[in-house]
């Protein structure tokens, strides 16, 4: 019986403490208006500049990439044609003359 009373008293104290502290918790969670607070503003102009800049740089880089590839292939074609011409001349020289 004595133990039951002690148990009930403990619960009573705990609930009382929570009831006393609850308004304080509620107050702590409320949003307070602060005058002159800094509002997060995302600047638009750098984003627009980055978007346009990216598109034109990407296109320009691609043009350079393709033009370099084209130059390399044309160089290889020229070298190969020169090699073929030399080979044809050699074959002609070896051929028996009438």
């Amino acid at each position: 019986m004595k133990q039951k009373r002690r148990f009930a008293r403990r619960w009573f104290l705990l609930i009382g403490a929570l009831a006393w502290g609850a308004p304080a918790l509620a107050v702590a969670q409320e949003f307070e208006k602060v005058s002159g607070a800094v509002r997060e503003e995302i600047p638009a102009r750098p984003l627009v500049a980055a978007a346009y800049g990216f598109i034109w740089i990407a296109i320009l880089a691609y043009v350079v990439f393709v033009a370099r590839g084209l130059g390399r292939v044309r160089q290889d074609l020229g070298d190969l044609r020169a090699k073929i011409d030399r080979a044809v001349t050699r074959v002609d020289d070896r051929a028996p003359r009438p």
Partner: protein, 227 residues
């Protein structure tokens, strides 16, 4: 002049004129009341996305010709368009988040439009990788991938109407403020001209590579005989 091609010169001239006119039209277009200045990304973001779709369809068309008719020309067209799809896809996927950062407060949202567009870009990157590193079967494997990419295009386009997304719907362009239309359509025409120029340039590279490969085959016998 004949080697450069009359069409190439004509398109390049038109694009140069566009470069002079379009920026002033975009600067002169009225500001969108909710988003403000950042909405001006729209004038190049939407045409870039459209070029991604166009490139994917051209790539798929060339791939069909290559797969079912064995057309080498179709394969060259597909290769040129495949690279352009990746280029304009990158432009779309970079400019979109830059716009979204201001409009939505976040760089990225895993919603239907953004995710399906990213998937399309990844398929096209896969196309290029399969083509480059796929070995002897690489061209056929990549052609099959291009068909899957083409199937994804309508899904990307209609995703904003089918699912709830944060992305604007397809009705934005038809219902555009009349004062914004000159800037939009001139920007669209400029990007289309740039696409055509890049396509012609890339196709020329592909033809030159093909000529080189054919000449190498012809030369092998001749060089062996002469040595």
């Amino acid at each position: 002049m004949r080697s450069v091609g009359i069409w190439f010169v004509a398109v390049a001239t038109a694009a140069a004129v566009g470069f002079l006119i379009v920026p002033s039209l975009i600067l002169g277009a009225p500001l969108e009341p909710v988003m403000g200045v950042v909405q001006k990304i729209f004038y190049f973001h939407v045409p870039s996305a459209t070029m991604l779709f166009l490139s994917t369809f051209v790539c798929a068309g060339g791939s069909i010709a290559f797969l079912f008719k064995g057309s080498e020309a179709g394969d060259r067209v597909a290769a040129a368009a495949g690279e352009l799809a990746v280029l304009f896809g990158a432009c779309t996927l970079v400019t979109g988040p830059l716009w979204g950062r201001k409009a939505w407060g976040v760089w990225w949202q895993w919603d239907a439009r953004l995710t399906s567009a990213l998937l399309l870009e990844l398929i096209m990157i896969g196309y290029l990788l399969a083509r480059r590193y796929g070995g002897p079967a690489g061209r056929k494997l990549s052609a099959a991938l291009a068909l899957f990419a083409a199937i994804d295009v309508p899904l990307v386009y209609k995703s904003v109407d089918i699912w709830r997304t944060v992305h604007p719907q397809t009705t934005v362009v038809p219902t555009l403020d009349p004062r914004m239309r000159p800037a939009f359509w001139s920007g669209f025409a400029l990007i289309l001209l740039v696409w055509a120029l890049l396509f012609m340039l890339r196709l020329r590279l592909e033809r030159a590579r093909s000529d080189l490969a054919a000449l190498r085959l012809d030369a092998e016998d001749l060089l062996e005989t002469s040595s």
